[in-house]
Symmetry: C2
Subunit: 413 residues, 2 copies
């Protein structure tokens, strides 16, 4: 079955002609409409929830509540209030022949988002895409189908009152639609998968349109020979336990062999949070009989490294040098967020330069990798690739640019 | 057969630790080595040329001469003298909690280039990648195999004298190597195809690593109702005939119906260059018996639009309005370079805003789409996609960035 995906392109041309204030007023109206439509949205969500076992870890992600919808409405107002990412002059020059040359930020056009069970993605992605002048195609998971339909119907109502077609946001729900979306060269400018690494791998293998990979984070913190142990303990605790289900949560503590004696002190706060540790031989010996609960201490296996735990579990790797730490990260990291704790400024600079990741930290936890924390405003995801956007992607990162050349009949010799 | 593509990644880590001046001195030494090795390079090239029919249009692209090699050496010195694209601070802020946040330009790592018969691509791409701190994997066409081998051997000699491994530039020549390169997720960060649209389509269909599409240009110039005819004639002549084999050469002249009377005047300079015209009915009538050589005037067919001619041929399309011109470009353009000739400032701004292309021109020919002309220095290609780089791609466009966060033990609440 062929699905016509050309509508959002036509709608994008209408958006390109709208003043930016008009886009903001759509978001403000949608915020009000969301507050007013709580009943319908919650009952559609209840229908989805009724089809899922409450013990499923996705259940909480699928769930909407009055308070979450209020937060969503507040987020919409926040996005409306952010500066527009469009029309920024990125470069400007007048060439010797008088040609006026401007590189200016413009909308992508059509952005496809593929996600799983979180219905709030419909609001997030629609609002950020619209603010950035792009239409969007949302492919949600079956689990969230009723919720997504209700949200998109609400958005369509608001769009229609502003004279915009329903194709400004197109919702796809069938499994076949994913394949069509991934092959929609010409109709879609960019696809952003939001979800598990399984989803991201599937998209990478099958997409024929440009993709920005987001989210998968195998995250390390390296406690160097000269680390301040108080800082290190705080940083490790924060990176591991602040929120365990986020992509920038710590997965593997790398420790310099000369710090093994301090490992019990470093890990003590983790025990209070019931963090299960998978330690290599040296770290296991250092922690055994040190007070770390025996039930939470396991030997590392080959699966312990390169794993994104998304839970209260953490690996430990012992190294003999900074170089070995960098090699370990190069082999097992996913290019998301990596941190060094050290009082040695040279070691810090070498780590920051040599580690190939979106965000590299010195004496700070990877917990900060977040568009809001970085002062970028709302974010659509965290890119783990190097093309176009790296790390937190906010409004500027979902625009492209064009070169505008104004002349007066000049020709090239 | 599996080809090991992991070497360039290791070499890229060595490059990341080298001072920028060291990279420049490699390029200067390579320029000298090129001047000194003319004999070997020309004799390898002669072997390739002997296997190709001299009437093949690729023959000239394959051909190296003493003068071309001197130009190449000069280009290498020019690239060495350009400012480094690395280490640019793209954003900097100190967060309220004291964290120091910098977004800084860094090398991609490993860049793959797939090209056809032009052996000079080895010099161009190696020099730009090296200057941008990246290693490269070059997949050349079979036609240029001996030439590419000789050039890369020359580069390897220079690299070795600077203590860098041969994997800093890896040459692949077998057809199977292309498939391996396109699937080398993890070993390769970016692939740039340079060549025909057949090559670019193949890469898009088969790549599992990020790609920047370059080159294919179906280019229009729209002569509006209020165009100044002198400007229009000069602009069309320059865009069509300055160099016919380049991607920014004019393919289709769009003319407002009210300008049909002026079409003979507009086209007269093209006749002197023997430009063959494929005109729609209205334009055909306007040109017939107007002095335009009958042998050079043909009726347009469905193939006349959306074709990149790369030769002394051009289509003409008549429209009733600016909107119709924009629609035609939206349907047939490739997002490369598009121009409007008009004295109506409002029409110009609407065209510049609504036409979705890398470079949009007012009263200037598309001939200017070129990194050198735009003041960007040497260019590696002209991107026709919207992700990462659009239009001329020079040194800055083949870098990525990372976020560097320096703290003092701060944690996130």
């Amino acid at each position: 079955m062929h699905i016509d995906l050309s509508g959002p392109r036509r709608a994008a041309r209408l958006l390109a002609d709208m003043p930016r204030e008009a886009l903001d007023s759509i978001l403000l109206d949608l915020a009000d409409a969301t507050d007013a439509a709580m009943g319908e949205l919650l009952s559609a969500n209840a229908a989805d929830l009724s089809r899922m076992d409450a013990s499923n870890p996705m259940y909480d992600r699928l769930r909407l509540t009055e308070s979450r919808l209020h937060d969503i409405a507040a987020d919409l107002r926040h996005v409306a209030a952010l500066p527009s990412p469009l029309g920024r002059v990125l470069k400007h020059s007048t060439l010797p022949n008088g040609l006026d040359l401007t590189r200016v930020s413009v909308p992508f056009g059509v952005i496809g988002i593929i996600f799983e069970a979180r219905p709030n993605v419909c609001f997030d992605c629609f609002s950020l895409c619209l603010k950035a002048g792009s239409t969007c195609i949302l492919k949600g998971g079956r689990d969230a189908e009723q919720s997504c339909r209700a949200i998109v119907a609400l958005i369509h109502g608001v769009l229609s009152r502003h004279g915009l077609p329903a194709d400004t946001v197109l919702l796809l729900t069938s499994h076949e639609a994913t394949a069509e979306l991934l092959h929609a060269h010409g109709d879609v400018d960019l696809i952003i998968p939001r979800g598990s690494s399984r989803l991201i791998n599937f998209v990478r293998e099958n997409a024929r349109v440009p993709v920005i990979e987001t989210g998968a984070g195998v995250v390390h913190t390296y406690v160097d020979r000269t680390a301040d142990l108080d800082k290190a303990a705080r940083i490790v605790l924060n990176a591991k336990t602040r929120r365990v289900s986020v992509c920038n949560a710590l997965d593997c503590l790398i420790v310099h062999r000369q710090q093994l004696g301090a490992l019990p002190q470093l890990c003590a706060p983790l025990a209070e949070k019931d963090v299960e540790i998978y330690a290599d031989d040296a770290a296991f010996s250092a922690l055994q009989n040190s007070g770390y609960p025996a039930t939470l201490l396991k030997p590392a296996t080959s699966e312990s490294y390169g794993t994104e735990f998304l839970s209260l579990r953490m690996a430990i790797k012992t190294v003999d040098s900074l170089n070995e730490a960098i090699d370990h990260i190069s082999r097992y990291g996913s290019g998301h967020s990596e941190s060094i704790v050290t009082e040695d400024a040279q070691a810090a600079e070498r780590f920051l330069r040599s580690v190939d990741a979106a965000c590299v930290y010195h004496n700070a936890p990877t917990s900060f990798t977040d568009g809001g924390q970085f002062g970028l405003g709302a974010e659509i995801g965290i890119s783990t690739q190097k093309l176009h956007a790296r790390g937190p992607m906010a409004l500027e990162e979902i625009t492209t640019y064009k070169w505008v050349i104004r002349g007066n009949g000049q020709t090239r010799a």
